[in-house]
């Protein structure tokens, strides 16, 4: 149960810069007038961020991953249920990795 001072300061530094990144987006937006163009830009962000989160990892997760990704997509599209999409994805990738080695 010890904390080294240097370690503590490093963790506090990490925490500070991380909170800064969480706080900065809304702060910067509050400094500008929300024009129509700006709102349009913001409306595209969630989708494009999610694509950027998903696609590189999906590609590097191999054949089983790509198949499972497609299965999750279909499950989400048909059911609209997040949990179902999660279960379908995990089970498919587990089965795929077991079968494909």
């Amino acid at each position: 149960m010890t904390i080294n001072l240097e370690v503590l300061l490093t963790i506090l530094g990490m925490a500070a810069v991380t909170y800064l990144t969480r706080w900065l987006g809304p702060f910067l937006m509050s400094r500008v007038t929300l024009s129509k163009k700006l709102e349009t830009w913001l409306s595209y962000l969630p989708g494009t961020i999610l694509v950027s989160l998903v696609l590189p990892d999906l590609i590097s997760s191999g054949v089983a991953g790509v198949i499972a990704g497609f299965a999750s997509l279909v499950a989400a599209r048909l059911s609209g249920n997040l949990f179902l999409a999660l279960v379908v994805g995990v089970v498919t990738v587990w089965a795929g990795r077991s079968l494909l080695g």
Binding site: M1, T2, I3, N4, E6, V7, L8, T10, I11, G13, M14, A15, V17, T18, T21, R22, W23, L24, G25, P26, L28, M29, K37, E39, T40, W41, L42, Y44, L45, P46, G47, T48, I49, L50, V51, S52, L53, L55, P56, D57, L58, S61, G65, A68, G69, S72, L73, A76, R77, G80, N81, L82, A85, L86, V88, G89, V90, V93, W94, R97
Partner: protein, 238 residues
């Protein structure tokens, strides 16, 4: 308490305990996969010679998985503190874009609750909250409940992983690493608004894949999200 949904052109946001509870409940499955992922962090933190308290403190105060894993990779004696802090900042720059996209929905909240819920903004809670806000249910406390249950998963798994040591080294054996991708894919499906999404998403995908190949850390998320959304804003005026 009932969900108070105001249908106005300007998004209004409530902040109620009921909203937090909905966020808590709806994020529970995701919190379970965060727990599985966090076990690995606990194990690695022990192997990197952090004390139990230091590992827990990092998970509670920083609360950002990718940057914490990277920090462990840099954790040597003497501790390269500045490098670790700077790398953490770069990996978490994507939060700026996520926060900006939340802004229209949380702008009417008071400063204190707004700054508190921003601490709970992770990739997962942000994506779940955006989905919730866009479906018309605009309760800012959703992010609090969502982030809190995901936090419980993350903090709890840091503790359990640290204490269990080397028992759970390969969660990918169970396909658990895929849970996040599945959730993000489902949330992405909900973001589909028709043909106008095709080009922005294509650009985001290409830029992200190329950037992940060329650049270290998490730059690819920031660059892909930025490039795709700018193309969308440039092409459309809706």
């Amino acid at each position: 308490m009932t969900e108070n949904v105001k249908e106005e052109s300007r998004p209004e946001v409530d902040f109620t305990a009921a909203g937090a509870w909905i966020g808590f409940r709806q994020s529970l499955p995701v919190a379970l996969s965060v727990f599985a992922y966090g076990l690995v962090f606990g194990v690695l933190a022990k192997q990197a010679n952090l004390s139990f308290l230091e590992a827990l403190l990092m998970s509670v105060l920083v609360f950002a998985g990718a940057s914490q894993f990277t920090a462990l990779g840099l954790w040597v004696v003497p501790l390269p503190s500045l490098t670790i802090i700077l790398t953490t900042f770069i990996i978490n720059l994507r939060h700026i874009l996520m926060g900006a996209s939340l802004y229209p929905y949380i702008r009417h909240l008071k400063t204190l609750p707004r700054n508190v819920i921003l601490y709970f903004m992770s990739d997962e809670s942000w994506a779940l909250t955006m989905g919730q806000f866009q479906s018309g249910k605009r309760n800012g406390a959703f992010l609090l409940g969502s982030g809190f249950v995901i936090g419980l998963g993350w903090w709890g798994s840091t503790v359990v992983g640290y204490l269990l040591g080397n028992l759970i080294e390969h969660p990918e054996q169970w396909g658990l690493d895929f849970a996040f991708l599945a959730v993000f894919i489902a949330l992405l499906v909900a973001q589909w608004k028709g043909k106008k999404n095709i080009l922005p998403w294509l650009v985001a995908g290409i830029v992200a894949v190329v950037a992940k190949f060329l650049l270290p850390d998490k730059w690819y998320i920031l660059l892909g999200g930025l490039a795709g959304s700018l193309v969308g804003a440039w092409l459309n005026d809706d």
